[in-house]
Symmetry: C2
Subunit: 468 residues, 2 copies
């Protein structure tokens, strides 16, 4: 075959160099045709749009063409021309075709469309070859890039907090133990306690549930930082909203208080949504058409208005009023209750009809490190509540006062020996500071319209599932 | 205190709005002065450069100023003026000062300069407050941003491969086990084997040693992808070059062969080095002056020339010639030997005096997935060798032929049940493809001039060490 340097299909659709000889390589999505002409829909992953390859059957040996079935990988030289067909604007008149790899129709699992999402999860190693997962994972890339760019432009530093940790300070959830001990030969002391001296780290170690506390250390030196890394929860939750392994983004900023923290969160999430609308048009259109007819409109609507700012106390009043007027919730609502998803969605979807930032929660239902308000009852927590998703961001102003933090940690049973280093930031040069956490896959559920969190991460880890 | 919105010190040095009232917040690095005037060197993490705060002692209560010692955090309003002093170009004449947090000189560990790197590792929670670690971690951010930008501009997709995995396919190293089992109550079958049915994933699970195999799955659908995530090795290596937890970048590209893979690696690393020179001038100058007088020159030199391309066989000849001429190596050199760091550095630093990409290694010393050459002896591996660092990148063209891959995996003892999904990429629509891996901390050693890998990651994990 003649050597022409390859052009990505996305670039051909963008630049449309009609009348030139081009080379494309990719995977066959479908093949159809008649006795005179064949049509191959070719996809190379650079865009959801397939390039139509037109084959004049007089010019090609039929035997050569036979193995070109769905899933096969081919290398094509040909002339790029304007397409006559509807729904296409460019196609390639094939002049040379090389087959890189076949895909036996009897065994290749991705034949025609219409596989269930459950089935596709079982072949997670092949599902990126579908339109849906191609679109979702391209958007996953774009959201990651939006996040890094947002923070970089604002002078934040990306900070890698540890994955393996010897303490569960935040108490945010059950942890996975990490060990190199031989489980067939565990050493124990005279009381029957396992001796960790010979474990890799010389003590019991786990996978992190959050990088926040370490990010605070960095913020108290570098000013503004953010994490973006995997976090882990060993909870036996088989729901469409839980993963055992997921990615979190946690900005942490010195010298800002709760109001600026709310603004940062709003700017941040709007930036991401805008990036998706600007950079993922084709993929969004596909997901909108196939899965969620309200998707694009919902993304646009989030950009339109200021997010509502509302105290937890005011929020509970609205919910209590709704109950008084006959609205039925599954879970009881009263001051002090942790809001359920139905409560959050009522505020966002029915009452305000736009995103809501709820603040100043009862201290009993929030973490030890949140700044205590003067009322003695509430802390400067904030949750950003979104349509369809519920809580998408959780954050707070942090307690910067050593004595208050120390006392609250003690009250809540956080051992001092596990947080001496965290307390040190308040002993030495403490300052007001705030931050928040965004579950990356929650954001992806929102921007892709997918409904199961297993479908927005390449290889989901859930109870009884660590394949691939 | 009057409310003026805060400006980062980096921005004041950049924009120099002399004559305006500004607000800065930050940590005191040093304080000196006489009876009339005090000088505070203030750092807010946005730059290595301190802002000098000039205090007219007639205007301030001495009691207020007393707690302003090294490490304290303060909030300053004042007039930005051109500095009279040498080595400064701007300073602030203080008008109002608020103390956010003190740092008791008797207990604050970061007093004057000159702490050993070993001591600073023990206070890793505070070391970002030093010049050195501020510089290193700002550069760490910049290198991450360079990497994402490089790939994004070229149409690669960032792809998150799993951290927890049920298979050690690559055999790249010893693994950490991940479990939720109660180690005091392990269930065993009649043969005494531990029953993993009730472990979280229903089978034995570990932390990943590489995302490459999963990245290949994605490349065979999306065309070009890269990973950037943590990887783990449970090796008991206490050296300045090994971490148990480190970050890797692994691009994987469909339709490119070894020559293009080499070019990609060269372009990539030059892009990162150029980014450092362009965006990290002050930090680089500091590290150059304090730690490694040849640093900036070495970075510039890498950009000057094409990297040498050389086969392993040619490389061994050069090394054998050197031995024949009397050069002494610690380890023997012969065709088939794995090159030691001294061999790699001889080629780079003494023979060619520039980076070298070595290719086509004996198949016995490389992984099962590398493309086999027709000679039956070598594989299309490539290692990028750098001055001072040795191997900085390792990669290869991948074996795309199902039968060859299957046979080689079998020969090397990789169980088929662990890689059926990987083999599937060669069963269905296989194509030539290539990729490589870069250890992020290796890159950081090169661009920062640090000599111990524990000093380029915020919280190093090494044998017996998982603090913070």
């Amino acid at each position: 075959m003649e050597t022409i340097s390859r052009t990505k299909i996305a670039d051909l659709f963008k630049n449309k160099p009609f009348g030139t000889q081009v080379n494309v390589k990719g995977w066959v999505r479908t093949r159809r045709g008649n006795k005179q002409v064949g049509f191959i829909a070719l996809n190379d992953g650079s865009t959801i749009k397939n390039m139509q390859i037109v084959i004049d059957l007089q010019k090609f040996d039929e035997e050569l063409l036979k193995p070109i079935t769905t899933g096969a990988c081919i290398n094509v030289n040909g002339l790029l021309v304007e397409s006559q067909g509807k729904g296409q604007d460019a196609e390639i008149q094939a002049e040379e075709i090389e087959i890189y790899g076949t895909a036996d129709p009897l065994t290749y699992p991705l034949q025609k469309k219409g596989h269930s999402m459950e089935f596709l999860r079982e072949i997670a190693h092949l599902r990126p070859r579908t339109n849906t997962f191609g679109a979702v994972f391209r958007m996953r890339h774009h959201m990651a890039m939006a996040i890094h760019t947002f923070f970089h432009e604002r002078g934040f530093y990306y900070f890698h907090t540890p994955i393996i940790t010897a303490s569960d300070c935040e108490g945010a959830g059950q942890m996975f133990q990490v060990t190199t001990m031989n489980l067939y030969d565990l050493k124990k002391d005279e009381n029957g306690s396992i001796i960790y001296d010979n474990d890799f780290f010389g003590k019991q170690a786990s996978l992190t549930v959050s990088g926040q506390l370490e990010a605070e250390l960095a913020a108290m030196a570098m000013g503004a930082v953010y994490t973006f890394g995997p976090t882990f929860r060993a909870e036996n939750s088989n729901t469409p909203r839980h993963l055992a392994e997921f990615w979190m983004i946690e900005p942490e900023v010195a010298f800002i208080e709760i109001a600026e923290n709310m603004q940062l969160a709003e700017d941040f999430i709007k930036y991401c949504v805008r990036w998706a609308l600007d950079n993922c048009k084709d993929d969004l259109q596909f997901l909108n058409d196939m899965f969620d007819k309200g998707l694009i409109e919902r993304l646009q609507s989030v950009l339109k208005d200021e997010f509502v700012r509302l105290s937890y106390t005011e929020g509970v009043k609205i919910l209590e009023d709704a109950v008084a007027k006959g609205h039925k919730f599954e879970f009881p609502i009263y001051w002090g209750a942790d809001l359920a998803s139905e409560h959050e969605r009522y505020l966002v979807e029915e009452h305000f009809k736009r995103p809501v930032i709820l603040t100043d929660y009862p201290k009993e239902i929030k973490s030890f490190y949140m700044k205590q308000n003067d009322d003695g009852k509430t802390v400067r927590a904030m949750d950003v509540l979104f349509p369809k998703i519920g809580e998408i961001i959780g954050g707070s102003q942090r307690e910067e006062n050593y004595d208050k933090l120390y006392t609250r940690a003690k009250e809540m049973g956080v051992p001092e020996k596990d947080i001496w280093w965290y307390l040190d930031t308040r002993r030495f040069g403490t300052a007001p500071h705030s931050g928040f956490g965004l579950g990356f896959e929650r954001l992806l559920l929102f921007v892709t319209g997918m409904t199961n969190i297993r479908d927005v991460i390449p290889f989901p880890r859930t109870p009884k599932n660590a394949e691939f």
